[in-house]
């Protein structure tokens, strides 16, 4: 097929352009549309037959004069040019520069849709990433190659948490073998939680580290916040940014994460870098998908979203991971806002069904001035179990986390009981649960935006608050743990 220009537009609406009599256009082909003002727009073939070809236009179909719209089929899939110079650059959703600098020129370019990773080729993620945030490191541990979204609501500090993770994320390296595991429990005694681990663990974060920032539908101020945050932590040169702002055409959001992840895959699996991908906000992405789906007349499933939303989101999220025999990794932190704080809304719901856990932010905690307002009970990291414990974090980590969850869940029950019958009526033990919950929220969950806690500080802090409860209530900890870490003085 030639790269002739066609002027046979039949109709255009909702980001879709229908073309007549374009023989043999291939599904997925890239299209360039020239409008009557001579401006060009990018598109992609989403349905093709001899009579009608349907093109999705990423810049939208507003102001198209059908008579004066010229469409060129490039006879190639949608590809992104790739070179190490992507780092430090800012692009739009289709991968064109947004920073006024020249486009990336390279002989290497890849189809932005990627191809599925063979499940037999994956390497199971198990390397602990210390984010310095206690609720994550201690209770919902992130590992390299994991996809762990932040579920949030309007006005909640998801961006600040994502930025803090980007700023603080590092690997722990055990440079000295720990004293032999015999006796367990108290291998890394660090007095009163303030101990700083100098020698045994050292952090790694070097040139092989990159960040891909994908913003869909975010405000100018949010975009600026991230840029400043990267700049401030001196990583700007290691960031590839793909931006579609709130006032940019929404259809572009459909291709943006695919473009950004093609770039991330290149950095990770071609250049061997450890890539942290921050994607915000997946809900705006899904809304753009709904818009196009409605335009195509696709059968809606829930809340007007098409039935294939799950598969579509999975194509994006499953690009995170590690590959056997390759050095790099893609760790993904998508931000998903929950419309009306509803976790059962299709976008957070389907995301939760795909990702390897979630960090859930709570409006109540935020209102009670707990920052970051992480609701630990609905939060989860599915890959935590293989990334923690002896040799990776600390021997008692899994049990401490489990005890924190159990005790805090129990404390929540006591709280709702207290709300009904009054705190005075509570038993002595129940009162201690209330104290525990307070301390847990104010000392363990709460921490400064600049406070970068080591995992050992986090675990010591956990013991501090757990020691507010009687020993007998701590059934998920072993006797050995209790002997090594329980702080009688606090228990009083």
């Amino acid at each position: 097929m030639s790269s002739l220009e066609y002027r046979s537009a039949a109709w255009a609406r909702g980001g879709l352009l229908a073309m007549r009599s374009v023989p043999e256009a291939a599904l997925g082909d890239r299209v360039v549309v020239r409008d009557h003002k001579g401006r060009s727009r990018n598109g992609q073939v989403i349905r093709t037959s001899a009579d009608l070809v349907l093109v999705q236009i990423f810049e939208g179909t507003d102001n198209l004069d059908l008579e004066r719209t010229w469409v060129r089929f490039l006879d190639q899939p949608f590809e992104l040019a790739l070179a190490p110079e992507v780092l430090g650059r800012v692009f739009n959703g289709v991968g064109q520069p947004r920073d006024g600098r020249p486009p990336i020129v390279s002989r290497l370019s890849r189809n932005v849709n990627g191809a599925s990773i063979n499940p037999a080729a994956r390497a199971y993620p198990r390397e602990f990433i210390q984010t310095g945030i206690s609720t994550i490191d201690g209770m919902n541990t992130l590992v390299r190659g994991q996809k762990l979204p932040v579920f949030s609501g309007s006005g909640l500090p998801h961006n600040r948490i994502a930025a803090q993770i980007v700023r603080q994320a590092k690997l722990l390296h055990q440079s000295h073998p720990s004293p032999s595991g015999i006796g367990g429990g108290g291998e890394f005694p660090s007095p009163s939680g303030r101990g700083v681990r100098g020698e045994g663990a050292s952090e790694t974060r070097n040139q092989s580290f990159a960040i891909v920032f994908a913003a869909m539908g975010v405000s100018h101020s949010d975009a600026r916040f991230f840029e400043e945050s990267f700049e401030e932590s001196g990583v700007l040169g290691q960031v590839a940014t793909f931006i579609n702002l709130a006032d940019d055409p929404p259809i572009e959001r459909l291709i943006l994460p695919r473009v950004a992840l093609t770039c991330a895959e290149y950095l990770a699996f071609d250049l061997g870098m450890h890539v942290l991908v921050v994607m915000t906000d997946m809900t705006y992405y899904a809304e753009a998908l709904r818009e196009i789906a409605t335009g195509k007349g696709d059968v809606p499933a829930r809340k007007g979203f098409p039935g294939y939303l799950y598969s579509d989101l999975a194509e994006i999220y499953e690009r995170a991971g590690r590959i056997r025999g390759k050095n790099g990794s893609i760790t993904m932190i998508p931000v998903v806002s929950m419309p009306s704080d509803d976790i059962t809304h299709p976008v957070p719901d389907l995301t939760g069904y795909i990702t390897e856990g979630q960090i859930v932010l709570s409006r109540e905690l935020a209102a009670a001035n707990v920052q970051p307002p992480v609701a630990v009970l609905p939060s989860l990291s599915r890959l935590m179990k293989d990334g923690i414990g002896e040799g990776m974090t600390r021997e008692d980590h899994a049990r401490v986390a489990s005890q924190l969850f159990a005790s805090y869940a129990k404390a929540q029950e006591v709280r709702s009981l207290a709300a009904i019958i009054g705190a005075e009526e509570l038993s002595e033990e129940d009162n201690r649960y209330l104290q525990f919950a307070e301390a847990f929220e104010n000392r363990f969950v709460s921490q400064g935006e600049r406070e970068d806690r080591t995992i050992f500080q986090t675990l010591d802090l956990a013991w501090e608050v757990l020691s507010l409860l009687p020993k007998e209530a701590l059934t998920r900890l072993s006797e050995k743990d209790l002997d090594a870490h329980y702080q009688q003085a606090i228990a009083g």
Binding site: A25, S49, A121, R122, F269, S311, D349, R382, S402, K410
Partner: protein, 603 residues
């Protein structure tokens, strides 16, 4: 017979092609990359084809070829221990041949053509014998765990005109020939093919009689499933469906396990591939991977292949059933399969009835689950397929179509609860929402093999849990002080049952698998403690003192303190309960008894 035609229209996974002679169900090869698909409808000369692979790059006008055969799987030695995609292509071989990304249009046989297997013919079988479908020709020791039986394919019958001697053969070597009534000669191989959408035939259905022992207390003790039964695990995201299914795949007393990852995470399959070869079957002591087969169509792989992957898994399961094995198939998640149906239906413009699902959702699910069961095979032997499907209801809402249809079909329902999972009560099986239609049949097995009062104990434990639920409602209104001593003891005992029995960590080495003996022992101990405590209260012991007994905290840890092979320790604990309560009884009963006695002498 194959027909040639050309592509007319491409829309996502649906392609319309001009293929005048194609039949529904027939395989079609499309375009330059040779993508595989299946005819799902015919309209005049046009065939509507669902394509198992990504259709990007296809063009109208490209060729379409009908292949003359429905989608079939290859069945024979060499499939165990492997991982296949939804079309039964071996993923390890694909990895070796084409790298870490899945390429399209690959045609790779499921079983290595060059590999030889040690075939031992059935001794009694003589040339000249009349044989029919399902007859056992001989065996192949596939690995140390499994002796593969080589069967005459169901559709073949007649006179055996030759049978290969013991020796090593590939799956395509001819190992025997049969002449049918019409005089046609059928060549027999170690492997055979079967169309996935057609259930394999058997003589008759048998009653399921034996519980499937999964080593999970909430399943075996509370909501049992039988070998040959149908079960479902519905639950919101993160509630523990996959962990529970992996536990079943690990520990259940099946001989063959088919694990179908249908539209779920790639890393979950990697985890199985990583861990199963290192784990051993608690009964045979052999690596679990030897009895396991994985079918993987992860969420980022094409949707239509997801729909067929469950049929591929089921056909393989039936094949082992026909050899006389007890097979367990877990499918994670059947909702993704149903969604694939929905997507195709939607693109065909079929009328949606509920949440976009087509009207035939319920009947399709029912027909599929119906392929589970215990049967008498064509050769007169017995085998079973137990099917356990995960269900992923949107928003955790069990009234949605897939969950509600499934609930009507299955016999055991393990409902997972978000509240329990959030509180890290695992497995988060909600004891009030779950049910099993098999309790009475299972009881016969438990009574005969483990303990005669099993049913009574189990029902008592469940009753404690339900009573506690009621009592908690009262507590939440007016506080715990409003309860009587007995009621507080009921609450505490229910907690003991919850924490000491129901909660079972998949991650704790000693707790992950719990033998029936250990399950029964723990159950009887918990109920024993309850009964003895209740007696003490009747004797006048204040409930606060009872609640302070260190025994209670200890009892909650028994499950992790003693593994299934350390039951002597647990029995020792049991023996210590008696003197403990005897001492208490002496303390509380004697003054009362004395008082009673003195009253007696006075009168």
């Amino acid at each position: 017979m194959s027909g040639q035609g050309r592509i007319l229209d491409i829309q996502g996974p649906i392609v319309i092609a001009e293929l005048p002679n194609a039949r529904t169900g027939e395989q079609v090869k499309l375009g330059k990359p040779g993508l595989m698909g299946e005819v799902i409808a015919r309209e005049g000369a046009r065939a509507i084809v669902q394509v198992y692979e990504n259709t990007e790059g296809l063009r109208p006008g490209e060729p379409a070829t009908a292949m003359g055969e429905p989608l079939s799987v290859e069945l024979g030695p060499g499939i165990l221990g492997g991982i296949f995609d939804g079309l039964q292509r071996p993923l390890e071989t694909m990895l070796a041949q084409t790298g870490e990304r899945i390429e399209r249009g690959l045609v790779i046989p499921a079983i290595d053509r060059a590999k030889q297997w040690p075939f031992v013919p059935q001794e009694e079988l003589k040339v000249g014998a009349r044989i029919a479908g399902g007859a056992i020709l001989g065996t192949v020791q596939e690995n140390a765990s499994v002796v593969h039986r080589i069967l005459v394919p169901p559709e073949v019958a007649g006179e055996l005109i030759d049978l290969a001697p013991a020796g090593d053969y590939t799956v395509v070597d001819v190992i025997g020939r049969v002449r049918d009534r019409q005089g046609n000669i059928h060549k027999l191989h170690l492997s055979s093919r079967w169309p996935v959408r057609m259930p394999r035939p058997f003589n008759k259905r048998d009653h399921a009689v034996q519980p499937l022992i999964t080593g999970q207390r909430i399943m075996d003790t509370f909501f049992p499933l039988l070998k040959g039964g149908k079960g479902a695990i519905p639950g919101p995201f993160g509630a523990g469906k996959t962990v529970l299914q992996q536990q079943i795949a690990r520990w259940s007393d099946a001989q063959i396990v088919i694990y179908v990852g249908c539209g779920e995470r790639g890393n979950e399959l990697t985890e199985v591939l990583d861990t199963f070869p290192k784990l051993t079957d608690p009964r045979s002591g052999r690596p679990l991977m030897e009895r396991t087969l994985l079918v993987a169509n992860t969420s980022n792989m094409p949707v239509v292949a997801r729909e067929v992957s469950v049929y591929v898994g089921m056909t393989i399961a039936e094949y082992f059933r026909d050899q006389g094995f007890d097979v367990v198939m877990v499918a994670d998640s059947t909702s993704r399969w149903a969604e694939a149906l929905r997507e195709v239906a939607g693109r065909l413009g079929q009328m949606p009835v509920e949440e976009g699902y087509p009207a035939y959702l319920g009947s399709t699910l029912a027909a599929f689950y119906e392929r589970a069961g215990r049967v008498e095979s064509l050769s007169g032997g017995h085998g079973s397929v137990t099917l356990i499907g995960a269900v992923s209801p949107p928003g955790g809402d069990f009234s949605e179509p897939v969950t509600s249809h499934t609930k009507d079909i299955i016999q055991t329902f393990w409902a997972l609860s978000k509240d329990l999972a959030d509180a890290r009560h695992y497995p988060s099986v909600d004891w009030l929402e779950s049910f099993s239609l098999f309790v009475d049949t299972a009881a016969r097995w438990w009574h005969g093999n483990i303990g005669e009062d099993w049913l009574q104990l189990r029902n008592k434990a469940l009753r404690l849990l339900t009573e506690a639920e009621e009592l908690n409602r009262i507590v939440n209104l007016v506080g715990v002080e409003a309860l009587s001593g007995q009621q507080r003891w009921t609450l505490e005992s229910a907690r003991l049952v919850r924490e000491g029995l129901l909660q079972q960590s998949a991650l704790e080495a000693k707790d992950s698998f719990c033998s029936p003996e250990k399950q029964y022992l723990l159950l009887s101990l918990m109920i024993d403690i309850y009964n003895r405590g209740a007696e003490m209260l009747r004797l006048g012991m204040p409930v606060q003192e009872l609640l302070r007994l260190p025994l209670l905290a200890k009892a909650r840890r028994w499950k992790i303190a003693y593994g299934s092979d350390e039951l002597e320790g647990l029995r020792q604990e049991a023996r210590e309960i008696v003197p403990l309560f005897d001492a208490l009884r002496a303390e509380y009963a004697s003054p009362a008894a004395q008082r009673h006695e003195s009253e007696g002498t006075e009168s």
